[in-house]
């Protein structure tokens, strides 16, 4: 099913809208939330399909276990919590009850990295990507706009795999249109340049990377920008292509280096095409409270800092 994301006012409406639309075509689809249904808007799923909705309360481990049980009788659960709890709080359950058993759920982890904003450091997952990567065959997506979020949620469902969807709840932007081809596992080259490749994941970093490429253009630097909306499976073909063309790669992620996207790409390129690289991430820091513009500055997740990183890479 295709749907214009302009129907939605926030990212959360796009991801839940997709879940509701999927449920309208497949009566195996159920939803389990963990006392955050009014935050993500899964209340709309509950309203439409009350018999297929469960609120596990503030008990994420049990939510994952219940989802695994639902899967074992042939149902397809969506589950939701804030990304910090969806990854850290219930990790052994994700690993054993879902992964090891070959059961299946589509896990929405909302407000990744600095998009947790006013909930602060306790709610700010930077390591969720690394954790999910340790579970074999877990698909990880981090779309950069509402249309790709809607489309990729559908594709995560169609993949038949466990999936982790990393998305902010609030705000909205439209980078892609209904006609754009958005494919799970295939990154999108937003700008094609010859001097450097900036590979970015998620809304914050793709936005800043695009702004940075404008600034770089004024400096006479021709930058490639890749929206790596699917972190796993990694689009190695595109990564090799842009690395071969530019010889220099900067990876920008709203997360931690260890086990994250940058390390993943560096690991791949080191085996096939050793490339000079730089990385933008949170390093060894924990999260903190603040609004998005404050946090962007605080962590250096800005176009100016991307430009600095590129200049360092080109020096």
């Amino acid at each position: 099913m295709k749907r214009d994301a302009h129907d939605f006012n926030h990212y959360k409406e796009a991801v839940i809208g997709a879940a509701v639309d999927i449920a309208s075509t497949d009566d195996r689809v159920v939803f389990v939330d963990s006392d955050l249904s009014s935050c993500i808007g899964s209340t709309s799923f509950e309203k439409k399909y009350p018999e297929r909705f469960f609120n596990a309360g503030i008990a994420e481990a049990n939510m994952v276990g219940v989802a695994a049980g639902l899967s074992s009788v042939g149902l397809v659960p969506f589950i939701h919590s804030f990304g910090c709890f969806m990854s850290r709080r219930d990790y052994d359950q994700l690993f054993i009850s879902l992964g090891y058993t070959h059961q299946r759920a589509i896990c929405i982890g909302s407000d990744p990295g600095i998009t947790a904003q006013y909930n602060g450091g306790t709610h700010m997952p930077f390591e969720d990507i690394a954790l999910m990567r340790q579970i074999p065959n877990f698909v990880i997506i981090e779309p950069s706009d509402a249309q790709s979020l809607y489309d990729l949620t559908w594709q995560a469902y169609k993949s038949g795999q466990n999936a982790y969807i990393r998305t902010p709840r609030k705000g909205i932007n439209f980078r892609y249109s209904l006609e754009d081809e958005i494919t799970l596992g295939k990154g999108i080259e937003l700008r094609e340049g010859k001097d450097v490749a900036i590979i970015a994941t998620g809304i914050v970093m793709v936005d800043e990377a695009m702004k940075a490429s404008d600034i770089l253009k004024e400096k006479g630097i021709d930058a490639t920008v890749v929206d790596l909306h699917t972190i796993r499976p990694l689009d190695t073909e595109l990564i090799e292509k842009v690395a071969a063309r530019t010889g220099k790669v900067l990876v920008c992620e709203n997360g931690r280096y260890a086990g994250g996207v940058g390390e993943m790409i560096a690991g791949h390129l080191s085996t096939v095409l050793p490339t000079k690289m730089a990385f933008l991430n949170v390093g060894e820091r924990y999260g903190e409270v603040g609004n998005l513009s404050y946090l962007k500055e605080a962590f250096g997740f800005t176009a100016d800092n991307i430009v600095n990183k590129v200049m360092g890479l080109l020096a």
Partner: protein, 279 residues
């Protein structure tokens, strides 16, 4: 339950005990204690209570059992073999490389295992999910699950307990194997649990509860029947059991969670058990 039927189930329980002792002895060691304490219940469930078909282990409307204390796998495998899910000769492959009978229950490997367990607490949540799923699908089947008293120290058990109470999962019958021991010793020395207090705790989570002798098959059967008559809540049957029950060298000792059992140990133990049970 009539006397003839009761004797048949007792005979099955005896066979499961013997098979389990021999099974563990083929590997040389294993989780004998927590396996033996649930053999009476397993005999009752598989040979009297549950709607299952060993020739069609995946049939959709089957009753399901999740042994959340997954280290009791050897007893479950003996029961499944006796029921006809697979040949008894497979029991001698326990824990060997490439086996379909790993120490902890694995739904991907063993015909008849309804959910994987081993990381304690997790099977119990999955059992609640199975019950929810059957409700969604309109499948009229019971979900049975067995947890350990040591396992009940896991917080996830109580997350699932409150969830099941809230959801009024009345097609769930759970059993707590209150054998009073855990890996490091007696529960009274680690996290004490008295049967009546355990039952009260479950009651406060919205479950119907009952305390029975877990080795009294007739009492267990009656408790299950009473549970089935109570609507709008899940059911917890707290079983007072003895760890290692039926493997006499392990009875009444502290270190019986996992024990080395040689072939000659098994033979002697089964001989002693036969004498004690008059078989």
């Amino acid at each position: 339950m009539d006397k003839k039927r009761l004797e048949e189930i007792k005979e099955k329980a005896f066979e499961i005990r013997c098979l389990t002792i021999n099974e563990i002895s083929t590997f040389g060691s294993g989780h004998i204690g927590g396996a033996m304490s649930i053999t009476d219940l397993l005999a009752l469930l598989y040979f009297d209570v549950m709607n299952v078909d060993p020739k069609n282990p995946k049939k959709e409307d089957r009753d399901r059992l999740v042994v959340s204390k997954g280290h009791a796998g050897p007893a479950v495998y003996s029961t499944l073999a006796l029921k006809g899910y697979f040949d008894k000769s497979m029991l001698s492959t326990l824990n060997q490389g490439g086996t379909n009978l790993p120490s902890h229950c694995d739904m991907l490997k063993t015909p008849g295992i309804d959910f994987t367990a081993g990381s304690l607490g997790q099977g119990f949540s999955a059992a609640m999910g199975i019950a929810c799923g059957n409700r969604v699908k309109g499948v009229d089947a019971w979900t049975y699950t067995i947890i350990g008293d040591g396992e009940s120290q896991e917080g996830q058990i109580w997350e699932a307990a409150e969830f099941a109470g809230a959801q009024k999962l009345d097609k769930v019958i759970a059993f707590e194997d209150l054998n009073g021991q855990q890996l490091d010793g007696y529960t009274k020395d680690i996290i004490p649990e008295e049967a009546e207090a355990v039952a009260l705790r479950w009651k406060s989570f919205g479950w119907s509860t009952e305390v029975v002798d877990g080795h009294d098959i007739e009492a267990l059967k009656d408790a299950i029947e009473r549970a089935k008559s109570v609507e709008n809540m899940p059911h917890m049957i707290v079983m007072k059991t003895q760890k290692s029950r039926g493997y006499i060298p392990g009875e009444g000792i502290k270190a019986n969670h996992s024990m080395p059992i040689k072939k000659e140990d098994a033979e002697a133990a089964i001989k002693a058990l036969k004498e004690r049970e008059g078989r």
